[in-house]
Symmetry: C2
Subunit: 224 residues, 2 copies
């Protein structure tokens, strides 16, 4: 990643690394708020995450002017701003596609719902899974994706299908007008430039851990 | 992340972003090798991942001189080098701790075993789970962690316990001499500087996807 403040020309989006850190700042701010703290300094905000105060200020400055001289950041105000920036001040109706072990675990992952990602429909194309119920939702066949997407206003899809099926299912997702895909299938997806994809390969994180252990470096990294 | 080639003084490790991309290069090289390709250029290597050729060369130069003028990279040689660099030219005996939905899904996640991360023991402290068998392994109580770690030579732990239990279990892991923790619990861990931690918060990835969709930017990002 290049310097977060130096954007490639024509690209107004914050770099991935900055957005990842903003998610972590938000979690830290929420923890401080639960403890009744009204304001926080950039060094306090970064400390628990192992991030320096200059980096914190630079990251937040990407989105606007949030700090007050002599006060720091007002926690409630900064939480609201970061939620708006990340787009989690709203509900995202989300489809879960692929109900293998990982898909079934992800349905119950509490962190999604609490951030506004509501799984509203489940899809698989295994006839044995049709009609099964998980977390109150009935598994539907993939051929119902287009109709269900328009009925329920689905905007995002979590894709947890085998590698060999992933591109074909992604094509269906895109054809339905779904705007973003969180891809757990261990294969890159080809999608039109208007569709967002975040790829999650859990073995990549474990490789990075192995690298750190081999090189004798401890400490905390955030893969998010 | 700062420029990958500008390391903080005294820190010889490659930045997180570089290691993440090296994992992706390795996957791309393996795909090219399966198709019988003997060599690859930096632009071919980056193309499928949406990474420019200059970035590919810079990332690899971090670890040594791998390219040949007029030839590019020899795929077999570069695969071996990257596996050695990442530490996946060996077996990592790994413990899975916490057998909720996510833990049970992770046991079956094929991507771990194929990269050398062998889950050799399962732990939980729910009495109802004791003696259950998953993927041929029997669930053990957490109080057996120290003994099992030394018997089986466990080096890494995948931690998938509730947030409120995570620090306590992490302390047990550290006390057993385990060197690295892949943390799925949505809470930061305090560990000694000699222990590596990679934190995985899946809702962070979904937040980043929401940000991209909101800002009308599609394209592919790799969260790994």
């Amino acid at each position: 990643m290049a310097d977060p403040l130096r954007q490639p020309p024509g690209d107004k989006l914050a770099p991935k690394a900055v957005i990842g850190r903003v998610s972590l700042y938000l979690r830290q701010l929420e923890a401080s708020q639960r403890q009744g703290q009204p304001t926080i300094s950039s060094s306090q905000l970064g400390a628990a995450l192992g991030i320096g105060d200059a980096q914190v200020r630079k990251d937040l400055a990407f989105f606007g002017q949030f700090g007050y001289p002599g006060i720091g950041y007002r926690i409630e105000e900064l939480i609201a701003a970061l939620r708006r920036i990340l787009g989690i001040d709203r509900i995202w109706p989300t489809a879960m596609i692929g109900l293998g072990n990982l898909g079934r675990a992800l349905i119950k992952y509490r962190g999604f719902r609490s951030r506004g990602f509501h799984i509203v429909a489940l899809f698989d194309n295994d006839p044995k899974k049709m009609g099964q119920t998980h977390s109150g939702l009935t598994v539907r066949p993939l051929e119902d994706l287009a109709r269900t997407t328009s009925e329920l206003g689905i905007e995002l899809a979590i894709l947890s299908v085998p590698a060999e099926a992933a591109q074909r299912v992604a094509d269906q997702i895109v054809a339905c007008g779904i705007l973003g895909i969180l891809n757990f299938a261990p294969v890159p997806l080809n999608v039109p430039p208007t569709v967002g994809v975040m790829a999650v390969d859990l073995s990549v994180q474990l490789e990075h851990l192995a690298y750190k252990v081999l090189n004798g470096q401890g400490g905390i990294s955030h893969a998010g």
